[in-house]
Symmetry: C2
């Protein structure tokens, strides 16, 4: 199967499940919890859970669908809380939860999804021991995501973040959940510990690459495609890999830390291209994906393993 | 064993465990997570977990200590998030997390403890199936706590809350975690489903009684004893069972919704006593405890079962 039709089919399965469980809930708080969840999304983390499971054991994914959904619940809970902290008012084309309701409701709405994530892991049809290990893996990923978000916020007050610090932060903030997605899919399908470890590392490396690509999209994509303000990282002086590399090559972009015309953004991009920062960052993302894919060799050859490789290629080639 | 020495011993065991795991952590976020956790507390929920376990299986509690601690982690996470929502600046005699750090850090500090709670349930030495059920029970309790807190906040805008609504809210906000504490202790010690259900109901009823006693303490105890402002519920016009019953007996306390002298608080108390509201509310709390204790008959006679009964008596007789 081709990747794009597979992702569409998976997203459809996840969407239907989410609508069945969260689409018609009673009470204001449950509405707030469901708001972003049913507003769409690419459902990439559930796809990774399901592909990892099917790579370990052919046909395992329908049994573990609730656990795949649990990863989307976790992701959405982090979005709701992050939006409060970052003061963002738009997400997935709809108002954020704290913007539509209020901050207390948004804190609680995220907390409800957080609880449901663990409940849904336990709903998977899988071995009890595997489920306990999956809960542990998800819990550790959640703690890491919090640390990553905290690091990310602390970076805002600094202009000397190193590449190592950036990669550590992104590994926690974005890598840990993709790592858990792949690891949990494997665990619940009965993978060996070596296979779980390999899937975890696959997810970690490709998750970091995913975030680097997000940073590239922020700079390079049109707002119509990305759904976000163009070059917001540049305007805010955010310490992304692009900005860290630019600084290290002696390129001073601090003059762009203000409202920017499109022509000025193009000018900054031209400077970054000339200094080979953009190509260098793209190369780093590609290398992370290659490292991630190497870990897949511990799994038997299968169409699903091939799709896992393709999904990580897609992470660093997507335009939005 | 007497209840008070037992509670002291248990609190000491839990404190030592918490200090070992959270007392000397690296990083600002981990400090913020540990802040309230190591600031003390009566550790009543862990005591209920351990007594429930020992009531089911003699000597089970040391094996499931991490799960007992998990209930304290959960309780502390809810305190951190509630303090943000309620704008409170003091708790357990120390500044609240958002007051000492900031709101984003407090949201994340709570989220970290939330994750650890599930991780620590899984660390118990118990059957894998029992652990999966314990995770599910804790997750459901967490979602209920969120609903309860949301109801509680919505009550602030109303002055027509009924006794039924109040009891539903308190069942979710306070009862659900005591219910889960007793149920999880039983589950992990290998209780039958009937015993788990009985322990859950014991915890729910006594948890509701606990909260009603908290409301009484708010009105009646001196600030030195309670560690809180005296009669804050009265001043804020909070819809507690006391206030709902007062309204239903035609007693108008709306004039006390302002800064109050001690003499005025005493005057309000005298009115509530004369109308038999205080004695009536105390009676309701006692009845809930009696209902809760009846469920314990499904457990074999043991000193630990007796302590479970005593702890629920203590819930409604304590002065702070």
């Amino acid at each position: 199967m081709e990747l794009m039709p597979y992702l569409e089919k998976t997203a459809d399965t996840v969407d239907k499940y989410l609508h069945r469980h969260f689409g018609d809930v009673a009470g204001e708080l449950n509405h707030a919890s469901a708001h972003l969840l049913v507003a769409g999304g690419k459902r990439l983390r559930p796809a990774v859970v399901m592909l990892a499971a099917d790579s370990v054991k052919k046909g395992a994914s329908p049994d573990i669908l609730p656990a795949a959904v649990a990863l989307e619940l976790t992701h959405t809970f982090t979005l709701i809380h992050d939006d409060i902290m970052d003061g963002d008012s738009l997400r997935r084309g709809v108002p954020t939860v704290h913007a539509k309701w209020d901050e207390p409701t948004a804190i609680l709405a995220g907390d409800v999804l957080y609880a449901k994530a663990f409940e849904y892991i336990c709903m998977a049809l899988a071995g009890e021991r595997a489920k306990v290990m999956a809960v542990t893996m998800l819990a550790r990923a959640c703690a890491e995501i919090c640390e990553g978000q905290h690091m990310d916020m602390s970076f805002e007050k600094r202009d000397d973040v190193t590449e190592g610090e950036y990669l550590t932060m992104v590994g926690k903030k974005t890598g840990a959940l993709y790592a858990a997605a792949a690891g949990i899919g494997g665990l619940l399908a009965g993978a060996t510990m070596e296979q779980v470890e390999a899937l975890y590392r696959y997810g970690m490396n490709t998750g970091i690459a995913f975030q680097i690509q997000d940073d590239l999209i922020d700079l390079l994509a049109s707002p119509e495609k990305s759904g976000k303000d163009r070059a917001s990282d540049l305007r805010e002086g955010k310490q992304t890999l692009l900005m860290i590399r630019a600084r290290e090559t002696g390129l001073d972009l601090s003059g762009y830390r203000r409202e920017l015309e499109d022509a000025e953004i193009d000018e900054a991009i031209a400077k970054l291209e000339k200094a080979e920062v953009i190509s260098g960052v793209k190369k780093t993302a590609m290398e992370l994906v290659e490292t991630g894919k190497k870990h897949l060799s511990l799994l038997p050859v299968s169409p699903e393993r091939e799709l896992l490789a393709q999904i990580s290629d897609f992470f660093v080639t997507r335009g939005h």
